[in-house]
Structures are given as structure tokens and as C-alpha cells.
């Protein structure tokens, strides 16, 4: 299970390219399934692989629901017959329009340990400077904060549209029956929104598990864990281990499908579709 000496020239050693001519990587011949098996076994013993999986999984599981909750709060706020709602909506959607590369660079700068704005702001309220992307424990929260800022606007717009679609008669009927605010929220708003929430949850998870551009622009330490997509890319094109990278790619895909199925399965418990009705008749 050793990799023999490389005569590979890295195709994407971007820092070392010269403009004169292309360098095409020669890669290990992909030879039937023996290599595949070997690669899967390697995957199971490579510590960086596990770090990548752990990081990516935690990211998806924390980031997506957090973003949805934040988006829900803002959407509820905006639904209160606020004046100039179009302008607010545009404003909140703005970070989602910013390209991921720009977002990544911006937040890398904001989170810079010595000179970043965030640490300055924290210093004003007396909290010491934090390492953010350079601190092993803060890598995940940093990415989560960055992604939430970037994406929650899109979710807000979708949820706002969903809120506007809830017929007000439902609330009136509930009020007549004596329902309080929380009850109305829990028994009308959430169920009526649940299809939209469900859709956003699934799409968000699938996207979160494939994070790439942000990781490309924010060089975190490999020890702290890279995101899976970038890990695969690095293995394939910087290290030349295409077979291994493909194997990891398959594992990632299985992970994505498994999580999607999980969420689908759970959906029967909490997603309410108006078109389907079960329970007491008439």
C-alpha cells in the first residue's frame, strides 16, 4: 500500500506555474478495482481524511439549521407590515449576491488575528483577540459565521414569500379560539412553512457538504482539517493520487445521500403538506 515515487508534476501547483507552457500531470494508471479497494482502505486509515469528514459534517449540521433559524427570525420580523419592505429585502439579500470568493476574502480579512476588524471590535468590549481561522478550535465557528452572513439572506427571502402565503384566516380562527402568540407560531406558522423549510434544509445541506471556493481562498492548516471537497481536489491534483481522491469522492457522495435520506425520513414527522390529509375524516 505504498505510493511509489512520483514522476508527477502537479497540475495545479498554482504558486509555481510559469506562463510559458502547460504542465500536464501524469497520473497513476487507474487499474481496475484493486486500486479501488486499496484506496478505500487508505481512506479508512488516513487521519486527514477523518479530520476532513468530521469538519465537513459538523459544518453542515450546525450551519444549515442555524442559517434557517436566523432567516426565520428575520422573515418574521419583516412580515410585521414593515414599511419599505422591498428595500429591506434587497438589503438582507445582498450578502447572498456577493460571490463566494469575495465573501471568503472579506471575512478572512475581517477575522485577521492582529489587524482584523472583528478583533478590534471585540477589543473595544474587552474580549481578547481570537485566532479565528488560525485557531484550531475556532476554524469551524469562523466558517459558520462567514457562511451564515453570506447565505441567510437567500433563505430569508424564500421564507418571507412562504409567510406571505399563509392565509390570514388561519390566524383569525386561532385568535377566536383563544390561541396566544406562541401557539399561533407553533401550530400555524411552522407547519405552513415546513415545506419551504424542508426544501431549504435539504438544498442547504447538499451545498454545505460541498464547500469549495471559500476553502480555496482561506488557507487553513491541514492539521485543523480541510473541507472534503477541497481535500479531494488536493489529493487528486496536487498530490496526484487520483484513485484515492475518487474513492474519497464516492465516500463523500454516499455521505451526502445518506444525510439527505435521513432528513427525508424525518420529514414525515414534521413537514406538513396541505395537499395530503390524514386523520379524522370529514
Amino acid at each position: 500500500m505504498k505510493f511509489d515515487a512520483d514522476e508527477r508534476v502537479s497540475i495545479a501547483a498554482l504558486g509555481k506555474l510559469d506562463a510559458e507552457g502547460p504542465r500536464i500531470a501524469r497520473y497513476r494508471e487507474l487499474d481496475s478495482f484493486t486500486i479501488g479497494d486499496t484506496n478505500y482502505v487508505i481512506g479508512a486509515t488516513d487521519p486527514f481524511f477523518f479530520k476532513a469528514v468530521w469538519l465537513t459534517l459538523r459544518y453542515a449540521v450546525f450551519n444549515v439549521p442555524l442559517g434557517l433559524i436566523a432567516a426565520l427570525c428575520v422573515a418574521l420580523l419583516l412580515n410585521q407590515s414593515v414599511r419599505g419592505i422591498g428595500y429591506w429585502r434587497t438589503l438582507y439579500y445582498l450578502p447572498a449576491v456577493l460571490p463566494a470568493a469575495a465573501t471568503a476574502l472579506l471575512w478572512w480579512w475581517l477575522f485577521a488575528p492582529k489587524s482584523g476588524l472583528i478583533n478590534w471590535g471585540l477589543g473595544q468590549v474587552g474580549i481578547g483577540p481570537m485566532g479565528w481561522f488560525t485557531d484550531k478550535n475556532l476554524v469551524l465557528p469562523s466558517f459558520i459565521i462567514m457562511s451564515t452572513w453570506g447565505v441567510f439572506g437567500a433563505n430569508t427571502v424564500i421564507l418571507l414569500a412562504g409567510l406571505k402565503n399563509i392565509p390570514p384566516e388561519l390566524y383569525e380562527a386561532a385568535a377566536i379560539d383563544g390561541a396566544g402568540t406562541w401557539s399561533k407560531f407553533r401550530r400555524i406558522t411552522i407547519p405552513m412553512l415546513s415545506p419551504a423549510l424542508f426544501y431549504n434544509l435539504i438544498m442547504g445541506m447538499i451545498a454545505a457538504l460541498q464547500l469549495f471556493t471559500q476553502q480555496a481562498f482561506i488557507p487553513t492548516d491541514r492539521e485543523d482539517g480541510w473541507f472534503l471537497n477541497w481535500f479531494i481536489y488536493n489529493e487528486a491534483f496536487n498530490s496526484g493520487r487520483m484513485g484515492y481522491a475518487s474513492a474519497v469522492g464516492w465516500l463523500t457522495s454516499i455521505l451526502i445521500i445518506a444525510i439527505t435520506l435521513l432528513v427525508f425520513r424525518s420529514s414525515t414527522a414534521w413537514v406538513f403538506y396541505e395537499s395530503s390529509r390524514e386523520g379524522e375524516g370529514a
Binding site: 506555474l17 460571490p99 485577521a112 479531494i232
Partner: protein, 307 residues
């Protein structure tokens, strides 16, 4: 306070709680707007900081406490950043980069738009054996993550000998590779009554003419939304150019930025240049957003089928 119904402000009798309700309402309103403003600040401050940094000279960057407004304003950052990139990768001027990027983006955008429309038209209007099966299979390809196709795609293009060209980035767009786009357009096409087709046929139109003169114009919002999404997708795409392009002359905008960033030191990168580049990269998309907002927002519903 969160009721969606409004109660009449005037009543026929004196309401002892009227004043209290009024105060509650005012307080509630203030709270709502305060929260919204707080959120707006959270959103706008990073944007402002990005532009502000891009206009600073290098010594202003690390001033402590940080300066909010650069003084002097260094507009030349927008030119110097590209000049510095040029010095690392000779021949890669800003215009060259823009040319590359626009070529790929525009070509791929039109490719995606029209191929998706044609395929959706086929699914919506023609009956053939296995149509629904094929549609379902196409939809299920949406589940295939890009991660998986990264390496095999590269290998396939290598066999064609088309690495380091623009073909891997533009040709696939012509093959209607966007199941979400096809899905959306098909739904819209299905809402067009067949009477229109029939009327056109009676007037002597063939299928192609029906497509271009009747079907497409009727789904213009969705069609343009897909155009916007496709433009955005290709403009922001890093993975594909990163894998396929080798020679710096061919680099797209985002790839050039990444290349530039790799060449700088990690602990003290030239933030002002990076922010300038980031702003320039974001500018067209932001501009598109402000002029064609509804298509962005419409594009959010791609895949979320309505009625």
C-alpha cells in the same frame, strides 16, 4: 403584536385599554425597526469595510485603531493589483482576464439557457415512450454532487486531449446539464395552454417557430432568471477552471485572484489589493442584482415547484 390582522382603530365606545395598546404598539414598532437596523448594520459594515480597505494604501491597512475612511484615497489600487499580478504571470493583464472570463461566462450562459429551454420544450410538449422515465432519471442526476464528477470529468477531458482549453468549461453547457433549469422551464411550459400551439399550427408554424415565437416569449421571466443564474454560476465558478486550466494566460477572473493570493505571503497578504480585486469581481454581479432583482429572486424558486 404578531397578529396578521389589523383591528379597527376607532371603536364605538371608550376603550379603557386603548392608551396601553397604543404604547405597546409603538414600543413594538420601535423594537422591530431597531432589530432590523441592527441586522442591516451587520450586513452593511462588512461591505463598507471591503470597499474602504480596497482604497487604502498599504501603510493605512494596519493602523490601530483601524481607520474607517481611507485618507488618502488610493484609487490606483484597482490598477496596481492587476499590475502586480501581471508581474507574477506575464501577459495576464486585466483586459486579458476579463476577455477570458467573459468569453467563457457568456458562452456558457447562452448555452445553458437555450439548451435547457429546448430540452424542457421537448419534455413539456412532446409525447414519446419513456418520456417520464427519462425525466425522472434526469432529475435524479441533480443528486450527483459535483465532488464526485471532479476527477472522472478531468480524466475524460484528458482523453480528448482538451485539457488547458476552454472546451471543458463551455461545451458541457450546451448539453443541457442543468436539471434544475430544465425542471423549472418545463413546469412553466406546461402552464401554456395547447390552444396557442394549435392556433400557431393552423397558421402554418412548424415546431421550431412555435418554440421561438410563442413558447419562449411566454416564459420570459423564468428564462431570464435562468440566464442570471447561469451567468452568476459561471462567473463565480472556481472548481472547473482550477482543474482544467494550466496556463496563466487562460485564467479566469476568480482563478487569477486565487493564483494571486497563493503567491502572497499568508501572514501579511496585500489586503488592499485583494479587496480591490474582490470588489471588482463582485461589481458586475452586484450591478446585475440591482438592475434585475426580480430575476435573482425568481431564480431562488428554481426547483421549488409552485402549483
Amino acid at each position: 403584536m404578531t397578529a396578521n390582522t389589523t383591528t379597527p382603530a376607532t371603536t364605538a365606545y371608550h376603550d379603557p385599554l386603548a392608551r396601553r395598546r397604543l404604547i405597546q404598539t409603538i414600543f413594538g414598532r420601535i423594537l422591530i425597526y431597531a432589530l432590523l437596523l441592527f441586522g442591516a448594520a451587520l450586513i452593511l459594515i462588512p461591505f463598507f469595510w471591503m470597499v474602504s480597505t480596497s482604497l487604502k494604501t498599504e501603510d493605512q491597512l494596519f493602523v490601530w485603531p483601524p481607520k474607517w475612511l481611507p485618507d488618502p484615497v488610493a484609487f490606483e489600487n484597482y490598477f496596481d493589483s492587476w499590475k502586480q499580478l501581471d508581474s507574477i504571470a506575464p501577459g495576464l493583464t486585466f483586459w486579458r482576464i476579463m476577455g477570458n472570463t467573459l468569453f467563457i461566462t457568456v458562452l456558457a450562459m447562452f448555452g445553458e439557457m437555450f439548451s435547457a429551454a429546448i430540452v424542457a420544450y421537448g419534455f413539456a410538449r412532446f409525447r414519446f415512450k419513456g418520456r417520464d422515465t427519462i425525466f425522472f432519471i434526469m432529475l435524479s442526476t441533480m443528486m450527483i454532487p459535483a465532488t464526485l464528477t471532479m476527477v472522472p470529468g478531468f480524466l475524460v477531458w484528458r482523453e480528448f486531449g482538451l485539457l488547458n482549453t476552454y472546451d471543458p468549461l463551455t461545451l458541457p453547457a450546451l448539453t443541457a446539464w442543468g436539471p434544475a433549469y430544465i425542471f423549472l422551464l418545463r413546469q412553466f411550459f406546461l402552464t401554456i395552454p395547447r390552444d396557442m400551439d394549435d392556433a400557431a399550427t393552423v397558421d402554418g408554424a412548424n415546431t421550431v417557430q412555435i418554440f421561438f415565437y410563442i413558447m419562449l416569449p411566454m416564459v420570459k421571466p423564468a428564462f431570464l432568471a435562468i440566464g442570471v443564474l447561469a451567468f452568476q454560476g459561471n462567473w463565480n465558478n472556481l472548481q472547473a477552471p482550477l482543474i482544467y486550466l494550466n496556463t496563466t494566460q487562460f485564467f479566469t477572473l476568480i482563478l487569477s485572484m486565487q493564483f494571486f493570493q497563493q503567491s502572497l505571503s499568508k501572514s501579511a497578504p496585500k489586503w488592499h489589493y485583494m479587496m480591490a480585486m474582490a470588489t471588482m469581481m463582485a461589481a458586475p454581479i452586484l450591478l446585475m442584482f440591482f438592475t434585475a432583482q426580480r430575476y435573482f429572486i425568481e431564480g431562488l424558486n428554481v426547483g421549488a415547484v409552485k402549483g
